[in-house]
């Protein structure tokens, strides 16, 4: 058999990568901080840390439903199993109360905890490693200023061999680059600041870049679109899907409010991102917009297609009129729900129905003061069959794209996601 030497060769290579990983990434435990050693920081540093934590969307993963902010325990689904986020409050027993600043900085840059254990890259240190010491200092000061909450985190539920933590060492050899971002003198200061935030703490690529079979971002397809908790994270590069080209001001408004009149509302995981970015500094969000807008230079969005009200059966058209069109009224009158015409919707234009199905099922919970965007969850109001027909109806009515074939499958998947703890 000629296959055997090849398999043995592959096996040897895997073992070598993991061994090299051990040698390269092995870190010893750092001494625990004693209870009296609580770090001191001035109010301005703490405030900066809070703003950077908003850009990092830290609270989103590190807070479970109904739990105290940053006290962790949220189940993060991955293709390899479920990972539970850690407690970032300064509780000495269950949080980071014993972590010195050196230990925190090492976790951010090298993906190793205080005791020297490998951390799974669901914690996006492949991005956070770009953060400056000044910024990790501010983040540390902010987190340590929070009230300590005792919250014991459930054990991860990962498949073999991924439940064997040291395997992460091999992953780092292959995919973790510590290289600093060199400032690009040909670009504006805003662009450079934006790149630093987007590539670093903002970790936008974690969702918007596709991943390979080992769960690492495909660097040669940066921002070509990815997935997050079942939702599609649309492309941000030249293949972006939009009725209008995103400009800097539109992006800045969308990122900090979750909504723009020519693009619609952030939903799913992006709603949490927008909610957090509303707490970040306006200058930083604007800089992020400058960089993100530059990613899609050369994109040619397809303008809204003519409305085709007769695109479906009279029954489904009647359901659309009664259930959807009172808000999505196509008159540029977005009302208190801030519902834009579906001719502008990225979700309806995407090649997959994932986002359209999920937004109809789950709606958009109001996540900011001052009203909207809001959408009621139609789960239970309409039957699954009606939701499927409705998704296909808006696809046919508001785009020139081929009809989706995955609607029933996506509804079943979305229901399974909802059934998880």
């Amino acid at each position: 058999m000629r296959l055997r030497p090849i398999l043995l060769g592959i096996l040897a290579a895997i073992v070598l990568v993991i061994l090299a990983g051990f040698a390269w990434t092995w870190r010893s435990a750092l001494p625990p901080m004693s209870p009296g050693q609580k770090p001191v920081a001035d109010a301005q540093t703490v405030r900066q840390g809070a703003e950077l934590a908003s850009i990092g969307n830290c609270a989103d993963c590190h807070t479970k439903a109904g739990g105290a902010q940053y006290s962790g325990g949220r189940a993060v689904p991955t293709p390899f199993g479920t990972i539970y986020s850690s407690n970032l409050t300064p509780d000495p027993g269950t949080g980071i109360g014993k972590w010195s600043e050196a230990a925190f900085s090492r976790a951010m840059h090298d993906g190793v905890d205080r005791e020297g254990n490998q951390l799974y890259p669901a914690f996006p240190y492949d991005h956070f490693t770009k953060a400056t010491e000044k910024d990790t200092h501010a983040l540390y000061a902010f987190l340590m200023s929070r009230p300590a909450v005792s919250s014991t985190i459930p054990a991860n539920d990962l498949k073999f061999p991924f439940n064997f933590r040291p395997i992460v060492a091999g992953w780092k050899v292959l995919f973790l680059s510590h290289a600093d971002l060199k400032p690009d003198a040909s670009k504006s200061a805003d662009w450079n600041r934006g790149r630093y935030l987007v590539e670093g703490l903002g970790h936008c690529g974690s969702c918007h870049t596709p991943r390979n079979v080992l769960g690492a971002e495909k660097k040669n397809s940066a921002y070509a679109g990815g997935v997050s908790e079942g939702w599609n994270a649309p492309p941000l590069n030249a293949s972006l899907i939009a009725a209008h080209k995103w400009n800097v001001d539109q992006l800045a408004e969308y990122l900090s409010t979750g909504w723009h009149k020519l693009h619609g509302a952030a939903a799913g995981p992006m709603a949490d991102v927008a909610k957090n970015l509303s707490q970040a500094s306006k200058e930083d969000v604007h800089a992020m917009a400058v960089y993100i807008a530059s990613l899609s230079d050369g994109a040619r969005p397809t303008a809204p297609s003519p409305d085709k009200p007769a695109a479906g059966s009279p029954e489904i058209a009647a359901i659309y009129t009664g259930a959807c069109a009172k808000c999505h009224n196509d008159r540029n009158d977005v009302g208190p729900s801030k519902a834009v015409s579906l001719s502008l919707s990225t979700a309806v234009r995407q090649a997959e129905s994932a986002n359209t199905v999920r937004v109809i099922l789950h709606g958009i919970q109001s996540y900011r003061g001052g009203g909207g965007p809001y959408m009621p969850a139609f789960d239970g109001i309409l039957t699954d069959k009606q939701i499927a027909s409705l998704a296909e109806y808006v696809r046919a009515r508001y785009t020139n794209q081929p009809q989706w074939a995955d609607v029933n499958n996506e509804i079943a998947k979305a229901r399974q996601e909802g059934a998880k703890p």
Binding site: G66, P314, E315, A317, A318, I319, Y320, T321, G322, A323, K326, C327, G335, P336, S337, Y374, P376, F378, G380, I381, L382, T383, Q386
Partner: protein, 151 residues
Amino acid sequence: MTIALKVNGKSQQVDADPSTPLLYVLRNDLGLHGPKFGCGLGQCVACTVHVNGRATFSCILPIAAVGDREVTTTEGLLENGKPNKVQQAFIDEEAAQCGYCISGMVMRAQALLKMKPHPTEEEIRNHMRPNLCRCGTHAAILRAVRRAATA
């Protein structure tokens, strides 16, 4: 167009455009004034009815989509013409001030207690959260739900 509906256990034929929200038909064609029109956008929850036992906004449910599912309004909760346990608890706690939201509150509380006869305080608050009340009788409403749960 004639559409068949099953409301409070009775089969009804209504002549209306199929896109008409169920709420309008309940109030204007069937004379059931329990469910209220508040926002018409599925935000205030005053229009809540049960569809197959589940609390549902009737203002954004077109009659074309109801099909053979059973609709129940607050009128349908009466037992032998008398308030049922949940309705009586709202009366006993004087939970209504202007009363506009109360039908929706009762329907939502009823749906919760059917699923979970003895909910925790947190479960009650989470379940009732979407229902808006502008008079401010929230505390009395919560007492009413607790009373119904222990009655």
